[in-house]
């Protein structure tokens, strides 16, 4: 059984329909990347899956449960967490406090979990009690991911995690994503840095104009010359 399955998703913003029936699937433990030109609806797809946008038709299933139309705070309790592209941290709170907010709905003692997350992002340990607003872009991105990991999710939704970061930072972030995946968390991410992302993805979907265009394993997509020409900048 697939961990996440979205079938025929039609969604958009208000009157504007962006997705005209998109389907994606994530198996447990996989890294799935969604690429495509600007305006293809990649971010819209993630938001529709996570319940931030209403799904006009189609179905989203998570671990066998139909979560179509569920609100984000219900979905989060099932084990799916979302890291938005922008405004994904609490800037006036410290790193530690951001993680505590990530664990807000946990009723158990999550101090051990905080340490596990710091283990994933060792660079942040020194900045533990620093206000996140004062951190660099890359560090903030790590805090954003760490916050989302506090609930021990089975699936992490990442919206352009490398956006606006320097190349060295991009490398670092992707390395962290691989590490998170090695720890057992499936990842579905939208990426502009398509080449870099596909290198370590188990599966990739190409979206354009709100529809599925191609899908194949990450390395296969990279080898595909036509895909390379059309979507990966030659």
């Amino acid at each position: 059984m697939a961990l996440l399955e979205a079938q025929g998703i039609v969604s958009g913003y208000g009157e504007m329909e962006i997705l005209h029936g998109v389907s994606v699937k994530v198996e447990p433990g996989q890294i799935v990347t969604i690429i495509g030109p600007n305006g293809a609806g990649k971010s819209t797809l993630l938001k529709a899956i996570f319940g931030l946008l209403s799904v006009k038709s189609g179905r989203v299933t998570f671990n066998g449960t139909d979560i179509t139309g569920w609100s984000p705070d219900r979905i989060v309790r099932l084990g799916m967490c979302f890291v938005p592209q922008t405004e994904n941290v609490f800037p006036s709170l410290t790193v530690q406090e951001n993680f505590e907010m990530g664990a807000f709905i946990r009723t158990d003692d999550y101090r051990a979990r905080i340490e596990e997350v710091f283990a994933l992002f060792p660079d942040l340990r020194a900045k533990r009690h620093v206000k996140v607003g004062a951190l660099s872009g890359g560090q903030r991105q790590m805090v954003a991911m760490g916050r989302a990991l506090m609930l021990d999710p089975k699936l992490l939704l990442l919206d352009e995690p490398s956006a606006g970061l320097a190349p060295k930072m991009v490398e670092l972030i992707f390395e962290r994503v691989r590490e998170i995946n090695r720890a057992g968390v499936a990842v579905i991410m939208v990426e502009q840095n398509a080449r870099e992302a596909l290198k370590f993805s188990d599966w990739g979907y190409v979206l354009a104009g709100g529809e599925n265009r191609f899908e194949d394993s990450g390395p296969a997509l990279l080898r595909n010359e036509e895909i390379g020409r059309l979507y990966l900048g030659g």
């Binding site: 405004e87 406090e97 907010m101 807000f104």
Partner: protein, 303 residues
């Protein structure tokens, strides 16, 4: 001059208490509460009700803790009046602001509604207590005590300062150390992310009104202890309150504290040079200055 500074600190701490509530409402509920000054007035007048009517009926004796101007009645009245003001703030939210919030009204409409609420409250005060100024204790000679450096303070003022400090510290501990307090700060930062994190933003809104209302009520009572009660006092607080909030940075409670103290001190010290009637204009001038030099306020806040 030093004496004026001390008076300024006392007055400034009253403004600061009000401004802290106002800035919390700004940061979490995202609008300027033009009824905040009148919430302060509510606190003062409800305390008057307890001190002059309710508590005597219950048989609480009229005592005075020399050399202060008040006794047990005020001590009991203060928390009760704070609670009443907090309750009123919550009722107003349920009746007026929350429906507008759910309708996704613009911040200006919320502010306009607050303006209407302000007049509503003020007219109720006029109806219930009449237009004449009153005091908690009539005809009392307020004899100052002398501290080192030849500073003159009234004993009431010392208590006001101590109580303000206490309330501010309690708020600090709440915001910094408790889960709910951190959730409040998180909601002020990023309400969408807070919602996704499972924080019940409606409950945070409720908490904001409770804290804002209680602090405003306390501020009004402290002001009235040291000065007097008039139905128009609420309107007169608006300029210094908003000036303090903007000075400190909208959304920052510690900024509001600093802003309040600065406004208070500058206003009082200015009376050495210009006609005291111009004190509100001094607050306005400070406001204009900050808008010219650093519009986001001392502590940055949100632009």
């Amino acid at each position: 001059m030093l004496e004026l500074t001390v008076y300024g600190i006392v007055y400034g701490s009253v403004i600061a208490l009000g401004a802290i509530g106002l800035t919390l409402i700004y940061g979490i509920l995202r609008f300027g509460n033009f009824a905040h000054g009148d919430l302060m007035a509510v606190g003062a007048y409800v305390a008057l009700f307890f001190v002059a009517v309710a508590l005597p009926l219950l048989g609480i004796p009229e005592t005075r803790f020399e050399p202060l101007s008040f006794g047990w009645r005020m001590v009991i009245a203060i928390p009760l009046a704070m609670a009443a003001t907090a309750l009123l703030a919550v009722v107003l939210d349920r009746a007026v602001y929350r429906p507008l919030r759910h309708r996704k009204s613009s911040p200006v409409m919320l502010s306009m509604a607050a303006l209407g609420v302000a007049f509503l409250i003020r007219s109720l005060i006029y109806i219930l207590w009449g237009p004449d100024p009153t005091r908690y204790v009539e005809g009392l000679l307020r004899i100052p005590i002398y501290l080192p450096f030849d500073i003159k303070v009234r004993p009431d003022q010392v208590v006001i300062l101590v109580l303000t400090l206490l309330l501010v510290m309690m708020l600090y501990l709440f915001l910094q150390k408790t889960r709910l307090g951190k959730a409040m700060r998180a909601t002020a930062d990023n309400p969408d992310l807070a919602r996704i994190s499972g924080i019940n933003t409606e409950r945070i809104a409720l908490l904001t009104w409770v804290i804002g209302g209680a602090l405003a009520g306390a501020a009004g009572i402290f002001w009235a202890i040291d000065s007097q009660l008039t139905p128009e006092m609420g309107w007169g607080f608006l300029l210094p309150l908003f000036a303090a909030v903007i000075l400190g940075g909208i959304g920052s409670p510690y900024g509001a504290l600093a802003g309040g103290l600065i406004i208070g001190i500058v206003q009082q010290v200015s009376t050495a040079f210009i006609n005291p009637a111009y004190k509100p204009a001094v607050a306005f001038a400070l406001l204009i200055l900050i808008l010219l030099v650093r519009p986001q306020g001392i502590f940055g806040g949100r632009s």
